[in-house]
Symmetry: C2
Subunit: 195 residues, 2 copies
């Protein structure tokens, strides 16, 4: 395939669109848009987010020792982009974006109520990378929309309507079609070899 | 929103679907499916992947000091799932999945030619998390399909056809619709406040 070289840059996708929610020792809540977020271990369940060390969220995580990663549905795309444009040092982004803070099960940081998947994390360690800090958090609880369980056969992905971010292209996209099942459809290539 | 608690687990999405390609000192190439992959810094451009320390890819990364993260298009979903089901210790997964190894620009590890976005990384450091190792790599080159530049106005996301993985639901999904532009559409909420 013919390729063009873009040089060293951060063009990579698809990425999740998340809102990271935190609270300070002063009780002020904050919410920050983050696409640099993902699972990094199953033993123990661990999530990593990366953020600039100057962010209000970074300060909050160190004050309380926890944070919540909220999956953004496509219906909240304007609110999510807004929370990436504004600083938590200046604004109450929960209020200004019309987001509702709900109590978490275990951590002090709030959940974003309108987000159908909320991962509660307890700060474990951080890694310094230039101006950024990679924050590792042990997952202590996962909250999923009850609506996803309405039909049989596990969680219905469509009800979450997850928003994908294309880093480098700077576009938000919705989900399309369910094209295959993991740990399953790849076995079609086993049969080809056996046959 | 009514929520159900899933307990501490790794249910989180959307995630990218990637193939991590490497080569050993013996010249044997390997390719591994990874959804725990993402950008973690812009200064310097850095990518992180997480993998079990028993993987052949982990050994290769330590032998050569580099790896490539390849974005999987939806058309390669069966091949990608296959590479997650098989071990590189047993099989030549490039050959068995019909994947083509192409020379990278800078690193020793090969690109997966059929993948339209290939991120070349040089190993920088690792973080131990239980049985997993979070591998940080400085991005030294990004290769993107020439086809994405056919029309004006930057890269055409549709041509990449990126495959999304829903961790916890274990489903692969294609992209749907372009719903908003980042660092832009959130400003609609600025105007509401000013008006």
């Amino acid at each position: 395939m013919q390729k063009r070289q873009l040089g060293p840059c951060v063009t990579f996708f698809p990425q999740p669109t998340t809102l990271v929610s935190t609270v300070g020792n002063d009780g002020r809540k904050n919410v920050m848009t983050a696409s640099w977020a993902g699972i990094v271990s199953k033993t123990p369940p661990t999530m990593a987010i990366s953020l600039n060390k100057g962010r209000k969220s970074y300060q909050h995580i160190h004050e309380t020792g926890d944070f919540v990663v909220n999956m953004v549905p496509a219906s909240l795309v304007v609110e999510a982009d807004y929370c990436g444009l504004r600083s938590g040092s200046d604004d109450d982004k929960f209020e200004q974006a019309g987001l509702v803070a709900a109590d978490a099960q275990i951590v002090k940081s709030p959940l974003v109520d309108q987000c159908p998947l909320n991962v509660e994390c307890r700060f474990v360690q951080e890694v310094e990378i230039g101006d950024y800090r990679l924050i590792l958090g042990e997952i202590v609880e996962v909250n999923a929309s009850e609506e996803a369980f309405a039909s049989e056969g596990g969680m219905d992905a469509r009800t979450f309507d997850p928003l994908t971010y294309l880093g480098g292209i700077r576009e938000y996209w919705s989900l399309g079609d369910h094209v295959a099942d993991a740990y399953k459809d790849g076995s079609k290539l086993f049969k080809k070899q056996d046959g």
